[in-house]
Amino acid sequence: MSIELTRNFSIIAHIDHGKTTLSDRLLDFTQTVAKRDQQAQLLDSMDLERERGITIKSHPVCMEYPAKDGVTYQLNLLDTPGHVDFAYEVSRSLAACEGALLLIDAAQGVEAQTVANIHLANEQNLRVIPVINKIDLPSADVPAVLKQLEDILQIPAEEAIQASAKEGIGIEEILEAVVARVPPPSTAEFENDSLRASVFDSIFDTYRGVVSYVRMMSGTINPRDGIRMMSTGKTYEIKECGVFTPKQTKRDQLNPGDVGYIIANVKSSSDVKIGDTITGTIRPAARPLPGFKEIQPMVFSGIYPVSTDDLEQLKLGMGKLQINDAAFTFQAESSAALGFGFRCGFLGLLHMEIVQERLRREFNMDVISTYPGVIYKITKTDGEDVEVDNPSFLPEPQEIETIQEPMVRAYIMTPNDYIGDMMKLVAEKRGELENTETLDGTRVLLTCLLPLNEILVDFNDKLKSMTRGYGSMDYEHAEYRPANLVKLDMMISGEPVDAFSVIVHRDKAEFRGRHLAKKLKEVIPQQLFTVAIQAMIGGKIIARESITALRKNVTAKCYGGDISRKRKLLEKQKEGKKRMKSIGKVNIPQDAFIKVLKND
């Protein structure tokens, strides 16, 4: 098929505005999937994706659409991950497109993620087609949404298509708009016919190895061609190439403008970097396509097996996950409190939750994670720059000239009634309000700069409960900024408990120290001696609790008939000691630590 008849597009939307439903509807309308093959929400193929209603991996699909002008077009739809954690993957998927359907729920209107999405689409110069979905709902308010389009997103209202993915209203109109408004892949790119293909995702298939998803920019790919990954310089041979219908379907050749997949003799998905450019070993391209970045984990946490016997199994599971998820990193570490485990890196909180959930589900692992943290940039007094993702490796306070922390730019949408509460929350989280925009009579859009560290744990939950579910938030990563940060250590009987060390803002250290000391006091059993729990910053104690020593614990009667029972009790206690961690002289059941980490 000629390039002129190809359209590459994706759908961007706030969660639950109907992206998956509309995708299914489009496949249905173009008869890409036979009816009997359909299951609801066909594109969310991982169990976890379907359950949570989020898309984690990209799901490209190729449709043939006989348009009203009598010509059959090839439409490539790239379903992208919907969450900011995967913003880089989203940007690479969008870079593989020329247009995007911007889906807005007719009852909900523009949400925070809609705004963030538009920013991404504009960065890639995509032709945006606004679609107002769910017009079948009694609560749909189309005129209000049209006004928001113009006011907030600066998109002319007359461009909007009104649709209901559920009822099948407006589907043909959407397809016609894709054909008419999304430009075909630019031919200007192809004057030089060296191979250039952009990798926008990859998966690991147990039988066929690494399958890379590519958008062809120039040149062609055929089986047995030699290719080179431009970021690593490594060369491979193509075993198979094809397109998505939506199942992977073999083709003899991929042509400019195509969205498809390739299989080469690549061992691990970490060798296929998202955003990388593939070129040929013969007549290689001079320069890679723009936009490539090495994916860097942004959020770190220790993951430990609850039972030490599971360590090897956990490592195996992590290895398997990594094959399919190059953004997830792990490295062995050990902790006095939790034993042996792994320091893991994630793109963000959702990514972290997904990995933990998959370890539990797919590998049956019972794991515990330490408090999540971010990467700090430190300039030492001797001029050396270091990056620290683990509080244990923070240099001593006197060696630190400055510490910088990563910031995010957050878009928070809130009903007018809750603006005050919202601003308070932002201030509490050390945020800085950059802009306030009134959207309509009822809502405002707050743009603020927040430390990533502060929104890691409960920010979104607080926002939701504060606004009774009507508020929404999305964010993008922003610059690093200096901050007055310190390392807070928890000590039990004078010994630091590494699992509870955190890097926090000086102003919050005391509160957090007191809180943790209280929690630890609750879970550590009384001992034969007084146990001191202390929170410390750079040698200075800022909070303390103490667990008073046991005073009386003695069996009253110990005669002939009581002896066996008594012995068995002691044996059980001895067995239990094996599951204890000894910190200082204190024996602490491991699940005490787990309790504190879980409820925090």
């Binding site: 001992q527 020593a549 005073r551 009386k552 110990c558 002896i563 066996s564 012995r567």
Partner: protein, 373 residues
């Protein structure tokens, strides 16, 4: 094989069931006591081959052995007679208001020479809380009867840590014992909430409280008072005037073998521990049937020694702290973490290669034992 010098007989009958008690016992019911006594004697006959010619100690516990009639006691002791010498310590557990002077004289005549009297408290309110069916006055009368019958070795059981018990109420009990009755021996038990008792349920529901600080203070109060009155604190819960320590209980604590007769009685003989069926009706049918057979390993013996000897005035030999499987030197034990830190904490003392509990250590014998195994 070495003969067995100690014998325990369990008499499971109680007139009235105390709500805190976890012993195997029940009301006498319609069961023919003749048959019960016959069953004990037939069990004795079947198992007597392990016994020494003369017993060092014989102990009748319960339940309430003093509920047995004079006739039954006489029948029972006719069978036991051959194993008793003038030197045998023969103890009977008795409750107030279950015997008169006549019966007490018979008990003395048949060879019983030591009585353990279940007083628990002299305070009406406390006795009510405990659900005992006798008064403090009954207890005093019972004690006088025993003296009159010629018992010169009497032990009194007391209980503390009872909800509602103040230091001054406890002091009144201790005073009656040391100034008025002056027994040779006192057992002083901390009320504990045992499995399958009404008290445990009431404790869990919050009705009956437990207070570690109060318990500790009452415990120290008893030690101080009884020691001042000349009693030796020779085991966590036991105090005796010199020469009146219970030889029978000491046999348990030093790991001696003992034969147990009667329903629910435990025997430990030549490394095997077993229990007679804890069911009076079935016991009467087949008195030699056993349950809960255990073969004791060296390591089992070691752990039991720690559990029990630590509680005694004689203390625990240090080498017991080394596990049977990985022997170790005394020097390493002394430098090991629990021993060193507990010595520093003033919970234990080391003398002559033995470990002794200090006053504070005695109140914490259980976790200390746990730290040592």
């Amino acid at each position: 094989m070495s003969p067995v010098f100690h014998c325990y007989i369990h008499i499971p009958f109680c007139h009235h069931i105390c709500p805190y008690c976890a012993f195997y016992k029940h009301k006498p019911g319609k069961l023919a006591n003749d048959a019960f006594i016959a069953a004990i004697l037939s069990q004795l006959d079947a198992e007597k081959s392990v016994l020494a010619e003369k017993l060092d100690t014989l102990y009748l516990g319960g339940g309430t052995p003093s509920l047995l009639s004079s006739v039954h006691l006489e029948t029972l002791f006719r069978g036991l007679r051959p194993f008793i010498s003038p030197e045998t310590e023969v103890t009977l557990e008795a409750n107030p208001a279950t015997f008169d002077l006549k019966k007490a004289r018979i008990m003395r005549e048949i060879g019983i020479n030591r009585i353990s009297l279940g007083v628990q408290s002299f305070q009406t309110g406390i006795l009510k809380t405990l659900g005992r069916d006798h008064s403090g006055e009954d207890a005093k009368i019972a004690f006088e009867i025993l003296r009159e019958a010629g018992f010169m070795n009497i032990s009194i059981d007391l209980m503390f840590s009872i909800p509602g018990q103040t230091e001054s109420l406890w002091q009144e009990d201790l005073d009656i014992v040391t100034s008025e009755l002056k027994p040779e021996h006192v057992s002083s038990y901390n009320l504990t909430y045992e499995e399958d008792t009404e008290f445990l349920k009431r404790h869990e529901s919050g009705e009956l409280d437990e207070n570690e600080d109060r318990d500790a203070n009452l415990f120290y109060q008893a030690i101080d008072h009884l020691e001042a009155a000349g009693f030796g604190h020779y085991e966590i819960s036991n105090y005796g005037q010199s020469g009146f320590e219970s030889r029978h209980n000491r046999a348990y604590w030093t790991g001696k073998d003992y034969l147990g007769l009667g329903p629910g009685a435990v025997s430990t003989i030549h490394g095997i521990r077993a229990k007679t069926l804890p069911d009076t009706a079935r016991f009467v049918e087949s008195p030699t049937l056993k349950t809960e057979h255990e073969t004791l390993t060296e390591e089992d013996r070691r752990i039991e020694a720690i559990a029990m000897q630590l509680r005694t005035r004689e203390g625990l030999r240090i080498n017991r702290v080394c596990s049977t499987n990985e022997p170790c030197s005394i020097e390493t034990v002394l430098r090991s973490n629990p021993i060193e830190s507990m010595t520093q904490q003033g919970l234990i003392e080391i003398r002559d290669e033995r470990i002794f509990l200090t006053r504070e250590g005695k109140a914490l014998a259980d976790p200390i034992a746990s730290a040592l195994i």
